[in-house]
């Protein structure tokens, strides 16, 4: 493992009772890159992430994060990572600001209040800062969730299906946040079942299938696996997504804030 490798996984195996979920998973993630682990439901993506974030022990194989072994140096690994799980793991009873301060304090940082305020501003949550999270929309919750993961600037960030269950606008916001993270030098490993998400974000894409990584490469490399593109002339119809954004506006703010607009009044 070289110093340019932030995540190194070799021969990872894991079974739940009789179910052999991982049968030897190998991949490396370069420092500062976005790596997408693609796979259908039940392929074992979350299992991989949980092993890498020290929540689960592998049956066989090794995994290193930032040069630390997940099995023998779990404490150093936890110092180097943050995990955003499949469901927004936020405290519903606390306010958004209190959630952020809680994580800052648990990471033993000084000035938790300032850290919280900075992140609230960055994720457009300042207006909702003093509200209980139970009143947040799904997108706001996810933004808060991602913001909580950034506290302490951990060099390696795991995002397990970060946009599952989000509406298109919230999804684009999370994507923006992920790109920002990588732009600041963090290494991002994200799992997703949305092909478009991997296409949009990832520097490298690996497909987990049948307990193994069956393909691993850049989008261009993956595209070369299929016969070269054939030129066809197709009438371009607007997709429903195009229509949706044309009507509600794709500034990414809460839909409720922009008021209603009837079809036909173009922006």
């Amino acid at each position: 493992m070289t110093t340019d490798t932030a995540v190194h996984v070799q021969g990872l195996e894991k079974s739940y009772k009789k179910l052999h979920v991982l049968r030897g998973v190998d991949f490396d993630v370069a420092r500062g890159s976005i790596f997408a682990l693609l796979g259908s439901n039940g392929a074992g993506k979350t299992t991989v992430v949980n092993i890498l974030s020290t929540l689960l022990k592998a049956d066989a194989g090794t995994a290193g994060i930032n040069g630390f072994d997940v099995a023998t140096q779990a404490a150093q690994v936890r110092q180097s990572i943050s995990l955003t799980g499949q469901f927004a793991a936020v405290d519903e009873i606390l306010t958004g600001r209190e959630n952020l301060m809680l994580v800052a304090r648990l990471r033993h940082l000084k000035d938790a209040g300032r850290i919280a305020d900075d992140l609230l501003a960055r994720f457009q949550l300042t207006d909702a800062a003093a509200r209980k999270v139970s009143t947040y929309s799904g997108g706001m919750r996810r933004r808060l969730d991602v913001a909580m993961s950034l506290i302490g600037n951990p060099p390696v960030i795991f995002l397990d299906e970060p946009t599952t269950g989000l509406d298109p606008q919230a999804r684009i916001e999370v994507w923006k946040a992920v790109r920002e993270l990588a732009g600041q030098g963090a290494t991002v490993l994200l799992t997703t079942q949305y092909l478009e998400e991997a296409e949009q974000l990832a520097d490298r894409i690996a497909i987990l299938h049948g307990g193994r990584i069956i393909v691993n490469g850049t989008l261009a490399e993956l595209k070369q696996l299929l016969p070269p593109a054939k030129v066809e002339y197709v009438e371009k119809q607007p997709t429903l997504e195009d229509v949706f954004f044309a009507i509600v506006g794709d500034d990414g703010e809460d839909a409720a804030a922009s008021g209603d607009q009837s079809v036909g009044t173009n922006e």
Binding site: A75, A89, I93, E98
Partner: protein, 254 residues
């Protein structure tokens, strides 16, 4: 990472204490059942129960306090279960914190919440005519026994909190604990019970704890009963703590 144990526990304790102050209903609902029992037994059944003490509410209060604790600790199981369901438990586990502080924060929160509930129940008992000439030292001893009992049952509550599959499952375990005082000296003297029932009542922890608290309240010499009571509390505490920690380590080691 254990060097952060006290700091992390304090931060997480602050978090779950906020849960309590923002949902005071958890404390209210904890006190409703014991207060209802107290009203029912003092004003309805009490007249027919002969305990040998001049005031039935004086006789009854120690058992009611234990019922209060037994119904209060189910919220620990519930809060822990909710943390696991929402994923925030995993978030904490993946962070560089002293891992056992997650449990300790819940246990200490239970202690605070139960002490508040106990104060409310005692206040209602005072309104209903409860009087005690106990010294400050005796009140401290009562508080000590109740704290030990709360800690013991709270660690017990941690186990279903960690393992339950549903919210109901997380809190259902408390029901037998709530009804244990009925087969003890809490409501009626045990010598009125038929042989086998009496044998059970005389030798189960609630009777010795109730007797010890009652002796402290009535300024009787406490004698051996307080040591038996404390031994029961310590015994349950040690076993429950060991089981809870074993469950916890099995849970987080995957």
């Amino acid at each position: 990472m254990t060097k952060h144990f006290f700091g992390d526990t304090a931060v997480l304790l602050g978090r779950s204490l906020r849960h309590i102050t923002r949902s005071l209903d958890t404390i209210i609902t904890t006190t409703i059942m014991p207060i209802a029992f107290m009203l029912l037994f003092v004003y309805v059944f009490g007249g027919a129960i002969h305990t040998g003490s001049e005031s039935y509410v004086n006789y009854l209060l120690p058992g009611i306090l234990l019922i209060t604790i037994a119904s209060g600790i189910s919220y620990t199981a519930f809060r822990l279960f909710t943390d696991i369901q929402t994923g925030i438990f995993e978030r904490f586990q993946s962070m560089p914190i002293a891992r056992s502080s997650v449990l300790w924060a819940h246990v200490l929160t239970s202690l605070v919440a139960n002490l508040i509930s106990l104060v409310i129940v005692v206040a209602v008992a005072l309104l209903m005519g409860f009087r005690s000439g106990a010294s400050a030292l005796a009140w401290l001893a009562v508080a000590g026994v109740l704290i030990m009992f709360t800690l013991a049952l709270t660690w017990l509550a941690v186990i279903p909190g960690l393992t339950a599959k549903t919210t109901d499952g997380a809190s259902a375990f408390a029901y037998p604990l709530i009804f244990l005082p009925f087969i003890s000296s809490a409501f009626v003297p045990t010598h009125t019970m038929p042989g086998p029932v009496r044998a059970f009542a005389d030798n189960q922890p609630v009777t010795s704890i109730v007797d010890a608290i009652r002796d402290l309240f009535t300024r009787q010499p406490v004698g051996a009963s307080i040591w038996i009571a404390l031994a029961w509390c310590a015994g349950i505490l040690i076993v429950a703590y060991a089981l809870a920690m074993a469950t916890y380590h099995r849970k987080i080691s995957g």
